[in-house]
């Protein structure tokens, strides 16, 4: 733990494992994430990437191993505490409030940064700071034009953007993005890639993504997972040149 503050490491996993019965979805992963870096995790379907993210965000509890975020031990922390410490996440499967308006979705995310929401008297939408943070998140994701539309009535691509907007509205320092581009059109996708580039200047991003062009465009570091095991970690160039990785993953894509 002590040496963590010496260098630039913001999140550290030690021997992280998650088993579902006999299946080891995540198997003894040691991985450090540097502050200010875009770190992409790639691997075939079922490699354990989403399980890994779920461990980091507290949605799942690890079977073994530890997770440290700055000076905090996150190993047993619940999702709400992890969020409050400054780790935001977006979901692969759109996870918004369909009956809320676009703005309300970001509103409830933004409101979580109040010291407490145990407030009973003043109307929620009067808090200027909360409103500004929600609107900024909508602007960043190009959703500011229609704040009053019901989330259920938005297009699929817009819902994906809203998913990211909600994460942004919690003002996280570290962002866990689980396939942010899944299901987006190429134009919307390009906007989100542009947004992630911007965010990367001031934030740390951990990204799961299947779109390799996008990954190569924004990631600084790459980790490759397969069958719950971390195959390799390195810079984009290192991974591109790695034999093991080419065989396991990239190679398949080229032949496909």
């Amino acid at each position: 733990m002590a040496n963590m503050s010496d260098n630039n490491i913001i999140l550290r996993c030690q021997g992280l494992s998650k088993s579902f019965g006999a299946l080891k979805a995540v198997n003894n992963v040691d991985l450090d994430f540097e502050s200010g870096v875009v770190h992409a995790i790639i691997g075939p379907n079922g490699a354990g990437k989403t399980t890994f993210i779920n461990l980091l965000s507290g949605e799942l509890q690890p079977t073994q191993g530890q997770i440290y975020f700055k000076d905090h031990d996150l190993t047993k922390a619940p999702p709400n505490k992890i969020s409050q410490l400054g780790i935001g996440r977006s979901y692969q499967k759109t996870n918004i409030f369909p009956k809320f308006t676009c703005l309300q979705n970001c509103w409830i995310a933004s409101q979580s940064r109040l010291k407490t929401s145990m407030k009973f008297f003043k109307s929620a939408h009067r808090d200027r700071e909360v409103m500004e943070r929600a609107q900024r998140a909508l602007e960043l994701t190009h959703l500011a034009m229609k704040p009053e539309i019901l989330a259920a009535n938005m297009s699929y691509g817009e819902q994906r953007q809203l998913e990211i907007a909600m994460m942004l509205a919690t003002d996280p320092e570290l962002m866990l993005l689980d396939e942010p581009l899944a299901g987006m059109g190429s134009e919307e996708g390009a906007e989100i890639i542009e947004l992630m580039r911007d965010l990367a200047k001031t934030h740390t991003l951990i990204l799961i993504e299947h779109d390799m062009d996008a990954v190569f465009a924004i990631a600084d570091q790459l980790s490759v997972m397969e069958n719950g095991i971390l195959l390799e970690t390195g810079t984009v160039q290192q991974i591109r040149n790695s034999k093991a990785v080419q065989e396991a993953y990239l190679g398949e894509e080229e032949t496909a």
């Binding site: 999702p79 409830i108 407030k119």
Partner: protein, 330 residues
Amino acid sequence: MQKISKPVQLFLLIALGFALWFPSVGDEFYVELLTNIMIIAIFAMSLDLLVGYTGLVSLGHAAFFGIGAYGLAIFFGEMNQFSIWVALPVSMILAALAAVVVGWISIRTSGIYFIMLTLALAQMFYYYFFESKRFNGDDGMFMNAKPDVNFGSIQLMDLSNEHTFYYFTLGILVAVFLFLVMILRAPFGQVITGICANEQRVRSLGYATQRYKHVSFVIAGTLAGLAGFLEAAHTGFITPSYLGWHESGNILVVVILGGLGTIYGPIIGAVALVLLEDFLPDITEHWKIVLGMIIVCVVLFLPNGISSLSGKIFRIPSRIMKTIFRTFRG
């Protein structure tokens, strides 16, 4: 919370106007019946906060109603004079304490387990009063007097007057309604409506959802205690059946009949159910079958309750106007 639409606001204001005017012309029997309906409406609104807004289906809500009622009977039943400023807080605090305990245990579970736990814990309270010799068991308890509503030595209201009690209850109904609208618009309300839709997501946004559910449970229980207080003060007679699961189920029917997650729906549900229970026996001996069929029909054809009719009804005049307009132009 979703904004209450203009037509519904208008409807509620008309209903309030009617309620204010009714005692000056209505039959005594119906004034008393309306008081009864309003008490049930307060009880049902408190449950709507839980079921309709927080997504917690409680089958033990009557326990808090009954505890509010017993609180009044136990501490003040034998007195010939007591102040409402003491009696009302006692009832509400007792109900709140019970809700703190029951809520603390049951919010750890969800779905069917939550239903079972609230049911089981509420039945414990029921059997306690049912068996207790001290509180007359299933014979119930009587009230000697109505609470005094005094300011210093000046009497503000005489609750032994049926009309005064009616207006007193109406005032509390309006206050509870406005209170619920207020907390649902406040940050707290945003969080619990979010929990109702998707608790996992709310937690991942950084909210300690258990705490919000617990607070919602306690608020709902306290308001149910308030309704129980009114019921005990109104009828002057309390039995353990007030706490029973039959009563819990009944109030759930009122909420569903009127419309979950609307706050005003339960008022409509209370009016509908009590009036049906009053009129149907005049028509047929087998009125419970008819009542059951009506409830089934509402659930099947108006899944959002009777209150969802309002939107449909208010659209009819505008449609007629449009048709007339078109015919003239054509």
